[in-house]
Amino acid sequence: MAETIKIGIADIAVSKDPNIITTLGLGSCIGIAMYDPQTKIGGLVHVMLPDSTKIRAGASSNAAKFADTGIQKLLDMMLKAGASKSRITAKIAGGAKMFEVSGSTDVGNVGDRNAEASRAKLKALGIRIVGDDCGANYGRTVELHCADGKYVIKAVGKPLRTL
């Protein structure tokens, strides 16, 4: 029986075939999924902010909150669960601009910065991005299917998209 594991904002989980890991209503946050097709181990992290080093010291100790530390932690958890780094690929979604605020304010561009920071961290770790659905102005619910690595994206008034 497949089990569905739901993670919240600034949250992380790793599981395996046949389970599904989901997070509901990603806005400007990013859902980064990792998958190893041989062991069928998958993981998902829901990060809120691009960079753990750019905020006030002591403001948070939750690694899953930031793209840089969250992606690192997800990889560590994947490896610990038995995945092999050479086989792990990533898919990312989210990073929307929920309000059309002009200029380079935090509200205006945090989605883009989250997406860029996620891509940069994955690149630095040598993990290939095989699916990317970031940006635009709408929220997304995502599901990672550990059976086959499919990353299903749902949005209000839009057809399902599978990465």
Binding site: I9, G25, S28, C29, A59, S60, F99, V101, T105
Partner: protein, 207 residues
């Protein structure tokens, strides 16, 4: 430069003061919307909550339920932003009164209705900020409102991220009013950290 380390510190230390500001602001906002629409109101005491991000995502409704979010910048003596959120049924009810189309039950809004919603948001947020300005004797101006209708968690990710830069919790003020139909409204005030110093000092509270 703020005397505070983080919003979390302010929220925890001055919870009672912020709660009072929230009560007065929300009361004022509710009264002006009732006056504008000519409806009788029966308002409950607003609930002021300090929530973790996980709690914030489901504080109004389940994560995937579609809600209306209105976002405005705040300028002048205080800088930052604020949000007003409500469920679709509440938004439909208010728009129907304003547009004089009482039988419309659609949960989609046309162009005209969207600008009506934006105007409602403008008035609600404006009177909330007015109350704060009167209390503190500070100049507070809202900027043009921005509207988003989407999944609750996606809209709430915006304030979560703003609070997230400083800590792990968010302050939300929820109010319920109405005559026949209950209308829910939720305010999230997001001042810059140094604006808190100004607000508290203006109220004569030692920081």
């Amino acid at each position: 430069m703020s005397k505070f380390e983080s919003l979390q510190e302010v929220n925890e230390k001055y919870f009672d003061v912020l709660k009072e500001i929230g009560n007065i602001g929300a009361g004022n906002a509710t009264t002006s919307i009732a006056n504008m629409l000519g409806i009788k109101i029966d308002m409950k005491v607003p609930a002021v909550q300090l929530l973790s991000f996980q709690e914030l995502e489901t504080a109004i409704c389940p994560e995937e339920e579609v809600i209306v979010g209105i976002f405005l910048g705040v300028t002048d003596d205080i800088t930052g932003s604020m949000m007003f959120l409500m469920r679709l049924e509440s938004a439909r009810y208010l728009v129907n009164i304003l547009m004089m189309s009482p039988d419309n039950t659609s949960l989609e809004f046309n162009e005209m209705e969207l600008s009506a919603l934006q105007e409602i948001g403008n008035i609600i947020a404006g009177s909330y900020l007015n109350a704060l300005a009167t209390m503190t004797n500070l100049k507070i101006q809202p900027t043009v409102p921005h509207l988003s209708i989407d999944m609750a968690a996606a809209i709430l990710s915006v304030p979560a991220i703003m609070f997230g830069m400083d800590g792990d919790s968010a302050l939300m003020i929820s109010t319920e009013f109405g005559d026949d139909v209950k209308i829910d409204g939720h305010f999230i005030l997001l001042p810059e950290l140094d604006s808190y110093d100004k607000i508290l000092e203006a109220l004569g509270i030692p920081v």
